[in-house]
Symmetry: none
Subunit: 226 residues, 2 copies
DNA sequence: CAATTTGCTGAAAATCTCCTGAAAATGTTT
DNA sequence: AAACATTTTCAGGAGATTTTCAGCAAATTG
C-alpha cells in the first residue's frame, strides 16, 4: 500500500511518514504542490494525503486537477482551519475525507485505513488466494493453517501480488508499487524477493500446488493455475 | 444499468431484485439456467449475477459458454459453499467476482457497483479478431475458448497485427514497430515468427478458417477472409 | 520452361531471462 | 559497538527464447 504525502512542513511530514511506515505503508513525501501533483498523476498511489495550504499549487487545486483528469485515487485533505467553508470546498474539489490540524496520529491512521479499504467493498482487510490469506490489519499471513512470518518488504510484495491475483504483474510494476519512487532497484532484486516468498509460502507446502508462478518475459502471477 | 439475475429460489431472487431496484438498477430474473443463458447471450446486460447451482445449466456452465462466445459481460457468481474448489472453478470459468451465501445485501451491492464501475474507470484492453482475443492487460490470448500461451515476442507481434487487423503490414513495418529501433533484424526473422504464430493460433484449429494470411510481395494480414 | 524472387521451415547458434548462493550494504537491537 | 536481521547487489549457470542460416517449395517473370 503506497501513500503520497504532500506537506511542506518537513517536521510534520516526517513524523507522519514514520508513523505510517510502522503500519507497513510505503510512503513518499512531496514538499510542494507542483511535485506532489506530478507524482500523484502517475497514478501509482493508493491514497493521497494533501495539505490544504501549500506553496505553489495548494491541496484543493491538486485535488481538482486530478479529478478532472479522471483520476480517482482516494484523497485525504489536511487543513489548519475548522471552517465549514473549507470543508465544503475540499469535498467539492473531490476529496474523500477531511482532517483538521492538529490531529492525533491515530485519527489519521483510522481515516487512511478507511480509504484504503473502501474500493474493495465493505469491511475487507483480508486478502485470500486459494489457501493463502493475508491480513492487512494484523499482518498475519497464513497458509493451510500455518502462520508465516515475513519481513516488511516481503509482506508488501505479497500484498501487492495478492491484490492482483490471477493477473500478471511485471517487475517494473512491482518496483514502482512496492518501492519508493526514488528507490533505484534492479529487476534482479524483485527476482530475489520472489525467491524469498517462494521459500516461505510455496516450498514448505509441497503437498499443495505452488501459488507463485513466473511467466517468462512478462512477470509473475499469484494464483492456483499455470 | 441493467442486471440479469439467474437464481432458482424465487424468494431470494425477489429480495435481491427489490434491493437492486431501490438502487435504481433495472433487474430481470431468470429462474433456470437455460433461459438465463438465452437472455444473457443477447448481450443487453451490464452485469450478470449467476447462482452457482441451478436446475439444468448451472452457473459455471453458463459462464463458460458465454466466455467462449467472446461475451465478456461482468459476472458475479453466487455460491452456497465456501469450498476453495468452487471459487477456483468459478474464476476459471470466467467469473469476475464471487460471493458466498449467505451474504449481507450491502456486500452484494458493493460488488455489483464495483463491476459496473470498471468499464468507465479502466478501459478494457482487449483486442478481438473473429474468434481470437488478446488482452493486453492480463496477457491472455484465447481462440474459440482455448487459452494460448505465447512468448513475449510472439505476443508483441500478434498484438501489433491485431491492432491493424484487415490491413496489410509489411515486414519492415513489423520490424520497426515490434522490435527496438536499434535492433538489426532480418526480414526472415519476421517470417520465422509468423511461422510460430501460425503453429499456435491457426494449426491447432483446423475447423476454423486460418486468420494469418501472407500477401506475397507486400506483407501479412490478420483477419477472416483472403 | 528456366531463372529469379519470395516465403516457409528445421535446426543450430547467439542471446536473454530467471534462479540461486553468497557477499556487501543498510538498518535495528541489545 | 557488537550482534543480528533485512535489503540489495553480484556472479554463475540452466534453460528458454530469439535470431540466423541454409535448403527447399511456390510464385513471378520473361
Amino acid at each position: 500500500m503506497k501513500i503520497l504525502l504532500v506537506e511542506d512542513e518537513h517536521k510534520i511530514a516526517h513524523s507522519i511518514k514514520q508513523g505510517l511506515e510502522q503500519e507497513h505503508f510505503v510512503v513518499d513525501i512531496a514538499y510542494d504542490g507542483k511535485t506532489g501533483y506530478d507524482l500523484a498523476s502517475e497514478g501509482l498511489y493508493d491514497v493521497l494525503i494533501l495539505d490544504r495550504l501549500l506553496p505553489g499549487l495548494d491541496g484543493v487545486a491538486i485535488c481538482q486537477q486530478l479529478r478532472e483528469e479522471g483520476k480517482h485515487t482516494p484523497i485525504l485533505m489536511l487543513t489548519a482551519k475548522t471552517q465549514v467553508q473549507d470543508k465544503v470546498e475540499g469535498l467539492l474539489a473531490g476529496a474523500d475525507d477531511y482532517l483538521t490540524k492538529p490531529f492525533a496520529f491515530e485519527e489519521l491512521l483510522a481515516r487512511v485505513k478507511a480509504l484504503t479499504r473502501r474500493p474493495s467493498g465493505m469491511t475487507r482487510h483480508r486478502l485470500e488466494v486459494v489457501d493463502l490469506s493475508l491480513d492487512t490489519d494484523t499482518f498475519d499471513v497464513v497458509r493451510s493453517g500455518k502462520r508465516i512470518v515475513l519481513s516488511a518488504k516481503e509482506f508488501a510484495l505479497l500484498e501487492y501480488m495478492m491484490r492482483h491475483h490471477n493477473k500478471i504483474v511485471s517487475k517494473e510494476q512491482i518496483i514502482s508499487h512496492v518501492w519508493n519512487y526514488d528507490a533505484d532497484i534492479l529487476p534482479n532484486t524483485v527476482e530475489v524477493f520472489i525467491g524469498y516468498l517462494r521459500a516461505k509460502i510455496d516450498r514448505p507446502f509441497p503437498k499443495e500446488k505452488p501459488l507463485i508462478h513466473t511467466i517468462r518475459g512478462f512477470g509473475y502471477k499469484i494464483g492456483e493455475k499455470e
